[in-house]
């Protein structure tokens, strides 16, 4: 009965979505405020209905109701509670429901906290959100109903892919969808701007908090997915240029461009039509990503539970949304008036250049991901576009992005002082070169390409800190006032600093990891040390044990340096009897400079074991960098100018005029 109630709620959400996409638009046409306000209440009901449906499905998983087909196919009574809950979205139907839940969550947040947005604008934004929700609710109800029942329920479920029974990947989809789906807000705001014919700085200010929130979530989601691959897939890699990874990376790249171009709109009322186009394209890439992953059209290590026939439905939605939006853009773009002007060397140009480079990066990933598919359809030839292609094409362009992130903040708005810029770049270069030489003396010379990579990362780090120091008045004001000045910096300045610093740290980590990683693969007898760089790894022994729903062999590997024990690692091999699948859990210990990483393989003859030992320098830096980037979005979000629910003036009211005595 509860299951049918969930099903009913989903239908209710669909009906509300229909009303929400029609009534507010009619209200705007006829200037009927009540009809416009209807959007707010509809968004609330739609969210409640979807959330209830989601809660019902979760309940079915928690109590292991195997009369529900989806639960029977994807869960098992012996699974730990955490994975019963996360199992809700670890399959196609459930993850689509999560998709719509997050979409309606953004709608209801706009309805609740967007009171500062003019009602006619809000009405159209929410109507567009509802149209997207309508498409995907119809998709769920018609092709992927999670509430389908079975006549003869099995005694137990078929279990869940054990690779996904992991805390990291459990949280990965919600965060990823927060970003993917959150970009729908950018899309809706862009459509609303085109419909109302109002594109101006206040529009950018209304849109920006939602994009920031989505972008932070997407950053964290991508990093979490990468982290999971790093410790779970067990060969020390963290990014594979896999089609599904690329599908989430493309909206991130373009979303990053959008965040930056929206700053220009907000501050200088320039780049208006470009920003609108970018908002549409960013969400288009989210939709394309959903299509690629959910249709199973691209083979990938991450594409679970997919079905090509459903792809046609999503493809139809995709064509409708992107085609409709771009047509509207083509019709209305000429009416958009560009505002402020600026010189060729200025902050605006820097941000525009950022957009050009990030767009080129996106095109590269897009073509690299989809070209094999097109070639297959057109000629029947099958080729592979793998990591070596992206390393050769993407990385050089992205190096430009990193370099620009260093120089951009030196430029002032409207017209930059070239002499000052030259001085700033020179000072940064000198400090970076000094640091670089120290590193070279300590670590030795790498090949030229890696040297270039490290140089850029150091340059960005130094430039960002110098810029922060300048903002805080170092060198011009007293030292004692420094803490006060730092605290007084607007949060958006901190956001810039943290984000760019995070990029520097992550880049340094990536370069270090791909440059200085050490790997030793061997069959060892327990007790025999293996040399990995400066460290010695010794397999002490292997013990068998039982987990909640798996059997496991846990090895103890001690790591020592010059005879002194540094740490111990506990890599595991697990066997999940329900799913009949093994998994490897790498044993990892993190230090500031890198990870000690060990993987246990199979037992060989004579009590020996196949083992893989790694020392991965820089990897913790990558996660730290990604964390900083993700947090930078939230910090910017907290800036009073951008606070959700703008534009309430947040400055305290001026003191009342005192009568002169």
């Amino acid at each position: 009965m509860i299951i049918e109630f969930g099903h009913f709620c989903l239908v209710l959400a669909l009906i509300v979505a229909v009303l929400q996409s029609v009534v507010p638009i009619w209200g705007v046409r006829t200037d009927n405020a009540a009809a416009m306000r209807f959007a707010d209440h509809a968004a609330e009901i739609q969210f409640l209905a979807t959330a209830t449906a989601f809660a019902v499905l979760t309940y079915a998983y928690v109590v292991s109701d195997f009369s529900v087909l989806n639960v029977a196919l994807n869960s098992h009574s012996a699974k730990p509670m955490l994975y019963k809950v996360t199992g809700v979205w670890a399959n196609h139907e459930g993850s689509m429901l999560l998709w719509v839940l997050i979409l309606t969550l953004f709608s209801v947040l706009i309805a609740l906290f967007g009171k500062g947005i003019p009602v006619s604008m809000r009405a159209i934004v929410l109507a567009v959100q509802a149209m997207i929700a309508l498409g995907f609710l119809a998709f769920i109800l018609l092709t992927s109903n999670p509430f389908e029942r079975i006549v003869n329920p099995p005694l137990d479920g078929q279990g869940m892919n054990p690779l996904l029974q992991d805390p990291g990947v459990a949280l990965h989809p919600p965060l990823l969808y927060l970003g993917y789906v959150g970009f729908s807000t950018a899309f809706s705001f862009a459509i609303a701007a085109l419909v109302r014919g109002q594109v101006d700085p206040s529009w950018a200010r209304w849109m920006r908090p939602w994009v920031l929130l989505a972008w932070s979530g997407l950053t964290a989601g991508i990093a979490l997915g990468s982290w999971w691959a790093y410790y779970e897939l067990g060969w020390g890699g963290f990014w594979f240029w896999d089609p599904v990874e690329n599908a989430s990376f493309m909206p991130w790249l373009l979303g990053t461009a959008l965040l930056h171009s929206a700053i220009v709109v907000e501050k200088r009322a320039a780049l208006l039509s470009w920003t609108i186009l970018l908002a549409i394209l960013t969400f288009a890439l989210s939709l394309i990503g959903t299509f690629l992953v959910r249709s199973g059209i691209l083979s990938s290590v991450h594409a679970f539970a997919n079905d090509p026939e459903r792809g046609v439905f999503i493809l139809f939605l995709l064509a409708l949304a992107i085609g409709g939006a771009l047509t509207l853009f083509a019709l209305r773009a000429s009416e958009i008036r560009e505002g402020g002007t600026f010189a060729a060397v200025s902050r605006e140009t820097g941000l525009l250049m950022n957009n050009v480079l990030l767009s080129a990066c996106t095109v590269t990933v897009f073509v690299g991901t989809l070209f094999p598919l097109f070639l297959d359809i057109a000629t029947g030839d099958r080729i592979t576009v793998g990591a070596p292609y992206f390393n050769r094409t993407f990385l050089p362009i992205f190096a430009g992005v990193v370099l620009l992130a260093a120089i951009g903040p030196f430029l002032s708005w409207k017209r930059a002082n070239i002499r000052k810029l030259r001085k700033d770049v020179l000072v940064t270069s000198l400090i970076s070169a000094l640091l670089g030489v120290v590193l070279l003396i300590v670590f030795g010379t790498p090949d030229p390409v890696s040297l270039f990579g490290i140089a850029i990362a150091i340059f960005l780090g130094v430039a960002t800190l110098l810029d922060l120091a300048r903002c805080a008045g170092v060198g011009t004001a007293r030292w004692t006032s420094l803490p006060r000045r730092l605290a007084g910096l607007p949060l958006s300045a901190w956001g810039l600093c943290l984000g760019h610093l995070g990029l520097a740290v992550a880049s340094a980590g990536v370069v270090a990891a791909s440059l200085w990683s050490l790997e030793e693969i061997q069959t060892v007898t327990p007790g025999t040390p293996v040399t990995v760089g400066a460290y010695e790894y010794t397999l002490v022994g292997v013990e068998n044990g039982m987990g909640p729903n798996y059997r496991t062999s846990v090895a103890t590997v001690s790591v020592s340096r010059n005879g002194e024990e540094v740490t111990a690692l506990y890599p595991e091999r697990r066997w999940y009897p329900v799913e009949q699948k093994p998994t490897t859990e790498a044993g990892i210990e993190t230090r500031w400079h890198g990870d000690f990483y060990a993987v246990l393989g199979d037992p060989a003859a004579n009590g020996q074991f196949v083992t893989r030992f790694y020392y991965n320098p820089g990897v913790p830096w990558m996660w730290l960098g990604a964390f900083l980037i993700s947090v930078s979005g939230l910090v910017s979000l907290a800036d009073r100018r951008l606070r959700v629910g703008v534009p309430t003036p947040s400055r305290r009211s001026p003191p009342l005029p005192q009568p002169a005595e």
């Binding site: 002007t341 095109v363 073509v367 080729i383 576009v385 093994p582």
Partner: protein, 162 residues
């Protein structure tokens, strides 16, 4: 009683299954196939990381556990023993298994779009940016005054002073 039996049976099956899986060598790169010389082993890996495991999803043959990947690894090592260069080995394997096996697609007319796209995107973007900047640049070139105008200005200034 029934449940106890079930548990026993499940336990027995589990033990069977674990033994079955553990007895199959399922681990990328085992010790016996490797070169003793670390330099040659590193080279084998560089080559191997450019070849796709055909039965896997987007893994190189050096990251895969499958038997076919192992066969290809052994093939790479054999070709190295024969004295082939890296590109000869890649060509040798691509001739037999098709271009699908190459993680880095060939530079060829068929793949022209693929390889040209990043460069074209960058150039088009830069060109569009240059055009935009030119059309909107507020800074007019500073017009210098002609000698006649200068004289006129001087005259006007002097008139104002006197």
């Amino acid at each position: 009683m029934r449940t106890l039996l079930n548990h026993l049976l499940a336990g027995f099956l589990t033990v069977l299954a674990v033994t079955a899986v553990l007895s199959v060598p399922a681990f990328a790169v085992d010790g016996d196939e490797m070169f003793a010389d670390p330099v040659r082993e590193a080279r084998a890996r560089d080559v191997g990381r450019q070849l796709r495991c055909l039965v896997c999803q987007n893994q190189s043959i050096f990251d895969s556990n499958s038997g076919l990947a192992k066969d290809l690894r052994v093939l790479v090592r054999t070709r190295m023993n024969e004295g082939d260069s890296d590109s000869e080995i890649l060509a040798y394997i691509a001739d037999r298994y098709g271009d699908y096996v190459l993680l880095q697609p060939r530079f060829s007319m068929r793949n022209a779009i693929l390889w040209a796209a990043p460069v074209l995107a960058l150039l088009l973007g830069l060109a569009a940016m240059a055009l935009y900047l030119k059309s909107r640049s507020p800074v007019r070139a500073e017009v210098s005054l002609s000698e006649d105008e200068r004289a006129a200005a001087r005259k006007l200034l002097q008139e104002g002073r006197s």
